[in-house]
């Protein structure tokens, strides 16, 4: 049987999950699993009444991830070209990555009065090491043949960086963004749950407190859709920026 192509498998899996939820809801009370109709109504209710929270979460996500991408890539780039920075930078990043996200959240609540600073800090500190380490590893994987080829033209360090290192690490940055997007969404919801009064995480806590399981499901579905949208946006950027990559087919 031919396999469905493109987004087909995702749609099939989504349909199966909803069907399973629908069937289960027939045999369970509404406060455990609401019916698809109730979930649909809750989604409409949230989108019409609380869409601002979704927008706030998306904006916080964008700010944190973009800052982590820019500063993490810069740090990774610096580590890639300066050995002493690499030695200390790697140690620092391993320590940062080893701190549980929950600890960062609690520390952020204690350290920062401003909600936006807290959320930004949490997302930045958990995501940034991924960019820094991946960009650093990308530079380490730079073929020596290419640097020798460029050296033949006597470039400055800046030209080597611009013509060789930056284009070479772009796939690493895109891959990191793909890998961390789902994780970043989970982190931001946790952070909002603990340290914010607005945003999807805060609304989820509120829905739980009011025993509005339909809203918990509705927010969850909206977050999954947000993740899909984010992945689609990254795929689009990947197709545009990495058009030069040959399609690899392994038989």
């Amino acid at each position: 049987m031919a396999e469905p192509a493109g987004r087909g498998p995702t749609l099939i899996v989504t349909a199966v999950i909803f069907a399973a939820l629908g069937v289960t809801s027939l045999f369970t009370p509404d406060y455990i699993i609401p019916s698809p109709r109730q979930m649909g109504a809750a989604i409409v209710e949230l989108l019409t009444g609380q869409s601002r929270d979704l927008a706030i979460t998306a904006a916080r996500l964008a700010a944190g991830v973009v800052a982590a991408l820019v500063l993490g890539s810069a740090l990774g780039g610096l580590m890639g070209v300066a050995r002493p920075v690499a030695r200390y930078g790697k140690s620092l990043l391993f320590i940062l990555s080893g701190v549980p996200a929950l600890s960062w959240m609690l520390l952020a609540v204690l350290w920062f009065r401003d909600t936006e600073t807290r959320i930004f800090f949490i997302l930045f500190i958990v995501v940034m090491p991924f960019y820094a380490l991946n960009v650093y590893e990308g530079i380490q994987a730079l073929p020596r043949d290419w640097t020798e080829m460029l050296e033949g033209f006597r470039p400055t360090r800046r030209e080597v960086f611009r013509l060789l290192i930056v284009p070479h690490v772009v796939p690493y940055i895109i891959l990191t963004t793909k890998s961390v997007s789902g994780y970043a969404i989970r982190m931001i919801v946790f952070a909002e749950l603990i340290g914010a009064a607005v945003g999807v995480g805060a609304r989820l806590a509120q829905a739980q407190g009011m025993f509005r399981i339909d809203r918990v499901f509705a927010w969850t579905i909206l977050l999954v859709i947000l993740n899909f949208a984010l992945q689609a946006a990254i795929d689009f950027v990947e197709r545009r920026m990495l058009a030069w990559r040959p399609a690899v087919e392994i038989r």
């Binding site: 043949d145 290419w146 020798e148 080829m149 460029l150 050296e151 033949g152 033209f153 006597r154 470039p155 030209e159 013509l163 060789l164 284009p167 070479h168 772009v170 990495l242 030069w244 990559r245 040959p246």
Partner: protein, 247 residues
């Protein structure tokens, strides 16, 4: 006083972790000369080439390219030297013309000018029509042609060929060698070909220098056009070189 040759290596020694790769090598190459350096693996031919490029400082002796030290006066040789390597070393994210133009980009040539020059060079190496293709869309021979165009596009005085034709099949290699060396000769470039193939060295070089480890010159010959047209003389030269390489 006689003018200094374009490339001068005088008593050059280079060691890696105490092991000499080249020892007391003296070699001079004049302007417009095409020299083939032939030797087995480990004979020091690539180290000699790297010393000319200025990849590292030598431990003893002196290297001069156009009267300058290629290592300490690195920047002054911008555009003087160009290298075509064993592998094409094309950057996969750059189209064929963009790869050819990379040297010109480093020399701050404006984009319209460098694109025009790159496209012109691609046409000269018989790659017209492939200017906008990415490296993965080209065959091995085509990629090597693009790398030749990249080496020549900066109009260097010296073209260094580091085992440039050795990774290709014999037919493609011969065809490329013929086309490329015709270009190099017609442009009056000084060129050094590093190779382990005796036939290639005899076919290309105005002068053939044979190296044995660690970078000792053990034989020099200057095959003429008459030699090349005489299979017996070529066979004799080949046998001589083979013998000194094997000793």
């Amino acid at each position: 006083m006689a003018a200094e040759p374009l490339i001068l290596m005088e008593g050059v020694t280079k060691r890696f972790r105490g092991v000499p790769a080249v020892e007391n090598l003296t070699l001079t190459i004049g302007k417009g000369e095409i020299v083939a350096i032939v030797g087995r693996t480990g004979s020091g031919k690539s180290t000699a080439m790297q010393a000319i490029i200025g990849t590292f400082p030598v431990d003893a002796g002196r290297v001069r390219v156009g009267g300058r030290d290629p290592y300490t006066e690195r920047g002054t040789l911008r555009g003087v030297l160009s290298v075509a390597f064993q592998t094409d070393r094309l950057l996969p994210w750059r189209r064929a013309w963009e790869n050819v133009a990379i040297g010109l980009e480093i020399f701050h040539v404006p984009r319209p000018r460098r694109e025009a020059v790159a496209r012109e060079w691609l046409a000269r190496v018989k790659m017209a029509g492939a200017e906008d293709k990415y490296p993965h869309e080209l065959s091995g021979g085509m990629r090597q042609r693009v790398s030749f165009a990249r080496a020549l596009a900066v109009d260097p005085a010296i073209v260094l060929l580091d085992e440039t034709f050795s990774q290709l099949d014999e037919l493609t290699s011969r065809e490329l060698r013929h086309d490329f060396m015709d270009l190099v000769r017609s442009l009056g470039k000084t060129s050094i070909l590093i190779t382990h193939r005796i036939d290639e060295a005899l076919e290309v070089g105005d002068r053939v220098v044979v190296l044995r480890p660690p970078g000792h010159v053990v034989h020099e010959s200057a095959p003429t056009a008459a030699d090349r047209n005489d299979p017996e003389r070529m066979a004799k030269l080949r046998t001589e070189i083979k013998a000194v390489m094997a000793d």
